[in-house]
């Protein structure tokens, strides 16, 4: 849909993607004719009401769901191959830390599974703990941390193995507004420092506009893309950019896109 005019490499390319679930109540079309390109270093937000397929699309990229039509590539490979190459880290809505492991050992989990050496594990755990501002909490158990800190630990876990794509499914959805603002700021900082490509599902307009270089507005039944907005906001974004006219204009366009998707009800 969006032409890729610059010569930054394409990370995700979806062409007329369809996904139909077979349920007991018959077929449910979760995604219909989705076309999207994500370039390296993009921060792409997916926003839309529930049932619009934003999470499903993320799960397709992660090879947790398989499309029933069309094509999708991740780093030029099929999502399955990308998964085997461990091309992405996935952050879920709940932190999902293992209660029987300390924070450091939780972050070490993917490294153990992927067979990193012991010393490499130590080093990486230390690095990512620093990256998400959790130094000194490595020996704590998850229940000793606040919800926001747990979610940061889960982001650290996704970052630990150097995947260049970060897939985030409403990672801050369960947190309160203040913690959320803080984590949004930290996430932007982290994105600037690491240069990762981030696909981010949310249902908050301010969050989507604040974070993204590209906002994908989706609408439900069947799940499809109703608008793709390239953000004109600069890369450097203090929290008060949310009061600027440019920000409000983008937010307005997102809201319009969401409303258009709901025109029939």
């Amino acid at each position: 849909m969006m032409a890729n005019e610059s010569d930054t490499p394409v990370v995700v390319e979806a062409k007329s993607l369809d996904l139909t679930f077979q349920t007991n109540d018959g077929q449910v079309q979760a995604l219909k004719d989705v076309n999207l390109t994500i370039n390296k270093g993009d921060f792409v937000s997916f926003i839309g009401p529930s049932g619009c397929g934003k999470t499903t699309f993320l799960r397709v990229l992660a090879a947790l769901e398989h499309p029933t039509g069309g094509t999708v590539t991740v780093n030029g490979m099929s999502p399955d191959e990308a998964r085997m190459k461990r091309a992405y880290g996935y952050v879920f809505q709940a932190a999902g830390l293992y209660p029987w492991r300390t924070i450091a050992k939780n972050i070490r989990l993917p490294l153990e599974i992927m067979g990193f050496s012991r010393s490499e594990q130590e080093k990486r755990v230390k690095d990512v703990l620093q990256l998400v501002d959790l130094e000194g909490f490595g020996d704590k158990h998850p229940w000793q941390l606040s919800g926001g800190m747990q979610q940061r630990a889960s982001i650290a876990r996704a970052l630990a193995f150097d995947a260049d794509i970060l897939l985030m499914d409403e990672p801050f959805g369960a947190l309160d507004e203040i913690v959320r603002d803080h984590l949004n700021e930290q996430l932007l900082e982290l994105w600037a420092r690491t240069g990762k490509t981030i696909a981010f599902v949310t249902h908050s307009i301010p969050e989507a506009v604040y974070l993204s270089t590209k906002i994908v507005v989706m609408s439900p039944r069947p799940g499809r893309i109703s608008d793709v907005i390239e953000s004109p906001l600069p890369k450097e974004r203090p929290l008060d950019i949310r009061d600027s006219p440019e920000f409000l204009e983008v937010a307005h366009r997102v809201r319009e896109g969401l409303r258009a998707g709901h025109a029939y009800d």
Partner: protein, 305 residues
Amino acid sequence: MKSLIAVLTVIGVLVVIWYAACVPMNIKGVLTEAERAGAVVEPEGARERRNLGAFGLVAGNGFAIPATWAQARPRLPAPHQVAIELWQTTVMKKITSKRSLVHHAWVTLSATLLGFGIGTGLGILLAVGVVHSRVMDMSVMPWAIVSQTIPIIALAPMIIVVLYSIGVQGVLPKAVISAYLSFFPVVVGMVKGLRSPDMMQLDLLATYHASKPQGFWKLRLPASMPYLFTSLKIGVAASLVGAIVGELPTGAVAGLGARLLAGSYYGQTVQIWSALFMAAILAACLVGLLGVIERVTLKRMGMGS
């Protein structure tokens, strides 16, 4: 402190009920003995008393009440009689003695522990199979459930006879029966425990491209620990029952089951009750020990509450 008072109150009430129950239970026997010894009993003659209610006899012969707590072979022994018997057969007897209850408890305990070990191992293996293979899920679970609907008292003699015919005797047949009873709670608990990780956690492992064994060792097994300990506590009590039942049909000469059997042959109710209490104490100790292991393990895993 408050809970201690509550606990002691409950025990006190139970003991009082027990003493009270001894009176009508034992009154006929006591009156017969008293009459033989020359006391005046109302009404006279065992025949006269046969059709009278126990409470009526107690009302007419108040003097005989203390004797209902001191018979040599009462229908229902009084608490202190059981306590004295327990004391004399445990602390006062050498462990090597054939009459030492510690000796008998150990015989039963060894079969219990062996059976519990076999049952737990088998239970865990079956649960792993059930969780990982649909075929096993469909084929093993129904049989596991059916196995527990057969009364063990009917099955135990057959197990012992069959094993004896192939030359297996001693502690092993008892352990087999004990394992038969204890594997079931372990299977059920472990299946639930191994399936306890939610979809999200399984998805997370999928994104790491983790293998099935990795998923088992790193996620499913640790997640199942709280469930395992709950079933182990049920399993160990069932194991003890199994070992005792295993001693009944063989005419075993040692073990708590043998004590129960011998006691009932010779009308030694005090012996029966003390064996019962020994079994209860043993079960409480085993369950308590597992509780301690559970607390320590879960605490070390960071899952203690």
